[in-house]
């Protein structure tokens, strides 16, 4: 009869939990209430887990250097990039983008890059924060 879990459990009783309490340790009464307090500086959100250097997050797009060659549209697996005929520029929908970074490699003018911004959740797929153009 052996129960190897017991020493591990009792040991853990006197150590800090492993969970990173981002954004808050317990669920606040109302999330919007908490966010307002944070806005007014009365409350503070716990920081997320630190992110490594070359994390593939939200797209960034330099509109000036783009020449409208549409190569990025050709390699994008997720149809995340739309071409704007009138201005010969592109528009990227972050909600569809799968952060593969293939367009950043194929672009002859290097105007596309992946930032380290990963907090992109939103209720509206086409919110302003989620459309890069």
């Amino acid at each position: 009869m052996s129960f190897p879990m017991i020493p591990e459990l009792l040991g853990r009783l006197f150590r800090k939990p492993n969970t990173n309490p981002f954004p808050a340790a317990q669920l606040p009464p109302t999330v919007t209430g908490l966010l307002e307090k944070v806005g007014k500086g009365e409350a503070r959100l716990n920081p997320p887990v630190p992110v490594p250097a070359k994390l593939r997050g939200k797209m960034t797009y330099n509109r000036e250097t783009c020449i409208g060659c549409k190569l990025c549209i050709k390699v994008c697996p997720a149809h995340a990039i739309d071409f704007i005929e009138s201005t010969k520029k592109i528009r990227i929908f972050v909600a569809q983008c799968i952060q593969c970074g293939q367009c950043t490699e194929v672009c002859p003018k290097n105007c596309l890059a992946l930032s380290e911004e990963f907090l992109n959740a939103s209720h509206d797929r086409y919110a302003d924060a989620l459309v890069v153009d």
């Binding site: 879990m5 017991i6 459990l9 009792l10 853990r12 009783l13 939990p17 492993n18 969970t19």
Partner: protein, 336 residues
């Protein structure tokens, strides 16, 4: 029964019901937080069971189409009521007026009353008409039958010892509270009592349906088993009955094995109310320690048993253990 005794009984019952529910929910909360911390998690706030209860009470109470409505709705009430009635018989920290019906009932009655919440869940499960609930009901009955043997052996050991010491009512809880069992046995009896304590500590998870004996509500096998069709107020009543049963099961262990009070160790001169409060606090502490070792630690350090293994463990291993404990207590009585 004259009017004042009737009035005292009613008030006592209401008080004990509130205490059972309130302390039960607090202990469930503490149990969840301790379990979380031991698994390196933050865990919910300690008042989480109260929040769950409030949420359940405002949720819709769905009665399935092919269920038997009166039995389906009656079972949770029966479960809660019977769990509270057991509280009336269990002695708690020698507080005046407790146990409310201490003179009428004894250990055998408590053993039978312990079965009624389980039977109520079985009735509720069978009445809800879902295949998962039927399987859960079968398993609950088998679990109840299984843990009767070690529980009975332990109770008989106490009664035999008290009868041997010449007690008038060997099964009565007052007699058990009066003579702490550890002081009246020799070294062999001491070992026997240790075996019986271990058995009773492992019977508690069976009574409460906690891992490793939670086959009736096995979440990953039959999706909540007995309680799969319950929601809203009915589920709230069942969770309350489980909370009260937590107090009952641990109070039984404390009443049998640790009947001492705080005042036995430290002579408190002050007002009797102060001594009563100290005793009550000491009693709650004893409950918590028993809860930790018999429920919290056990339910996170082992996996869930199949129903056949539950019967094997209770009849073969714990059954043998408790019978050996009983024999040792008997042998000890003759050797001294």
């Amino acid at each position: 029964m004259n009017a004042s005794l009737l009035l005292a009984t009613i008030v006592g019952t209401l008080g004990l019901a509130l205490f059972g529910i309130f302390a039960g929910l607090w202990f469930t909360g503490i149990d969840r937080v301790l379990a979380a911390r031991m698994q390196a998690r933050i865990g919910p706030p300690v008042r989480q069971p109260f929040i769950d209860l409030a949420k359940l009470l405002i949720k819709q109470n769905v009665v399935p189409a092919n269920a038997i409505p009166w039995l389906f709705n009656g079972a949770p009430l029966l479960a809660l009521a019977s769990a509270i009635t057991i509280l009336l018989y269990v002695p708690m920290a020698a507080l005046p007026g407790l146990p409310v019906l201490g003179l009428q009932g004894d250990l055998v009655l408590v053993m039978y009353l312990l079965l009624i919440p389980g039977l109520a869940m079985v009735a509720g499960g069978l009445a809800s008409g879902s295949p998962y609930a039927t399987i859960g009901a079968q398993r609950e009955m088998v679990t109840m039958i299984a843990y009767e043997l070690p529980l009975a052996a332990t109770v008989i050991a106490f009664a035999w010892k008290l009868a041997q010491l010449g007690a008038l009512h060997p099964f009565s809880l007052a007699a058990v509270a009066a003579t702490p069992i550890w002081t009246v046995v020799g070294p062999i009896g001491f070992v026997g009592l240790l075996l019986l304590l271990a058995t009773l500590l492992l019977v508690v998870p069976g009574e409460l349906g906690r891992i490793p004996f939670d086959a009736p509500e096995a979440e990953t096998e039959i999706a909540g088993g007995l309680l799969v069709e319950y929601s809203g107020r009915n589920l709230a009543l069942f969770s309350l009955s489980l909370a009260v049963k937590t107090i009952v099961a641990t109070a039984l262990v404390v009443a049998l094995f640790f009947p001492w009070n705080f005042t036995d160790f430290v002579a408190l001169g002050g007002a009797p109310a102060f001594a009563a409060a100290a005793n009550a606090a000491f009693f709650l502490l004893k409950l918590l320690v028993v809860l930790f070792f018999s429920v919290t630690l056990v339910r996170i350090s082992v996996a869930r048993f199949r129903i056949t293994q539950v019967v094997d463990v209770y009849w073969k291993i714990l059954g043998a253990l408790s019978l050996v404990g009983l024999l040792l207590v008997m042998v000890d009585a003759h050797v001294r």
